[in-house]
Symmetry: C2
Subunit: 352 residues, 2 copies
Amino acid sequence: MFQTLQCNEDGGMTDADTRMPRRARPTMEDVAQMAGVSRGTVSRVLNGGRHVSTPALEAVQRAIRKSGYVVNQHARSLVTQRSDSVAFILAEPQDRLFEDPNFNILLRGCTQALSERDITLLLTIAGTQADRKRIGRYVTAGHVDGALLVSDHADNPLIAELLNRGLPVVACGRPLGHEREVSYVAADDRDGARQMVTYLRSRGYRTIGTITGPLDTSGGVDRLAGYRDVLGEPDPRLVIAGDYTRASGEEAMDQLLRQAPDLDAVFVCSDLMAAGAIVALQRAGKRIPDDVAVGGFDDSAVATAAMPRLTTVRQPLSRISGEMVRLLLAAITGDPPSAVILPTNLVTRESA
Amino acid sequence: MFQTLQCNEDGGMTDADTRMPRRARPTMEDVAQMAGVSRGTVSRVLNGGRHVSTPALEAVQRAIRKSGYVVNQHARSLVTQRSDSVAFILAEPQDRLFEDPNFNILLRGCTQALSERDITLLLTIAGTQADRKRIGRYVTAGHVDGALLVSDHADNPLIAELLNRGLPVVACGRPLGHEREVSYVAADDRDGARQMVTYLRSRGYRTIGTITGPLDTSGGVDRLAGYRDVLGEPDPRLVIAGDYTRASGEEAMDQLLRQAPDLDAVFVCSDLMAAGAIVALQRAGKRIPDDVAVGGFDDSAVATAAMPRLTTVRQPLSRISGEMVRLLLAAITGDPPSAVILPTNLVTRESA
DNA sequence: CTGAAAGCGCTTACAG
DNA sequence: CTGAAAGCGCTTACAG
């Protein structure tokens, strides 16, 4: 834990002052005394000011301001049994958070929606096994009222642990293997994929490959399922899995080009991977979309930054974060799990 | 705050069960009873097991395992007056976190160093004014024992608020205007800049421009000071400030090329900006380093990913995070502020 | 509207 | 080594 307080030789008043860990914080009792009321009354004004007379209210507010009083959350949480904070658990290696703009937007949306309700969001990154253990302990130790679980892989034991501990959880995307036990919010991945592939076909492309997401995530399997819905069981040469990183998109495209040189379009299951695929295509001397058309997924900032700009599938990320927060709050009040599927739609630009 | 518990019509046992907010957590009293000892003894084994007989110790451990007991942090913190967690405050817009690999490494290093001591790190992003207010309230409300402040700008009121509240703080980089009041860890920016510019000169470059960091941060002013140490008061055409983003490096390079077409080298004060500068130079048809040499700063992953690979100044980021944690722990135990400056060194590659 | 009091779940001297 | 007890700073029925 913490280091022991070191003693030094010279001692004396000045030194002692310097070493005071921190100024003693005023307590509710102090405020009550200053305002000439009881602790109960101070508590009432802190919690909405119901059943408090105007003079008392004003005296307390004045005392709070003068003393700089801030409630002690630990004491409050001990009695309310709530912490008024929730965890945002990113079940990915830390670099993913830094590379993928989707997380950025999701995080911002959740922070926003929660802070409107005076709930703090704690960002935790569960990239390694050790992280997951530490975070599992932390969130189940009463530090948070619930958790938003983002980018969960099927083999992740974290979700089972949280559920087992009775912690309210909302997943982003379909939580493979836990669909009935936990609330989740997902974009209609399968339908989005269908729209994209149908569009590619309608534009005359015939040999359509795909770079999927990880097949242990719902985004991975559902988008591939949509591709199959339209094209039937695919030639195995035309399908290759990436991991949503830019680099994986580039590699996958290289390989696709090698195993299926006749391919004239590719549906890449994230914009970031599509940006990588574009690099590979250009290096191979392919014109986009004339030689090979590229379709993405997400409609993130990457889609419009790419050259050519990406035709892609829009995910309503800000609605997703809003719904996640709504469901989590519901779960915290004890509602049974429920799922929300939000529509996706095609956005056409120059790449296909 | 939270939504009120909604009532539904049908009621009944089953429904009530489903709606239980969460399983009642076993308390220390429960464990004590199971183990046939007193609460005090359970507490002692939880806090290191000193002064506990072997049979008692084992009985308690068994009871803990069987009951799945986890301590209630709020109760513990209420008496210990510590939360065993610290905040990592990134005083930058959220996208910066996502773009700049330095933060990534710093964050990972701090997490690591703290978790070895069983202290949790809370990541908070103080990008907007509203964020800063919310975070200021949060960290001073007793949720954390201290704060690591990263990428602080001179006009940021957060640092003053934290100090004023008596919260132990350690800054990354020299906290402009607060050098005497707060502990900080910094790389020797000025000397690093000197090394780079001296090197460029020794390679025969004569018209050396610079793209600086924001001039309200120590990295911005100190690296510029180092450049001046070697070259004297610069021609104003040769100096332009960026904001550490890749895009700002690109723009600054464009402008530098416009106002000083005779320039034959540029010292760019971060690798990420240097990567942007390279794009601008290549677009202008300049060969690197033959027409214009480029020097970076950081020696981050960006340096080796760039083409050509960057000659740069290495910052010892993992030592920086280690020292930050050490100083914060010291500040929490009441030590007066102190500063640690870590050496930087030149790393030569192909860009200069 | 308001105060006195119980209680949230822990830790830590204090006796033994 | 171990138990009984005080106390951390709050909230919330309960009386009045």
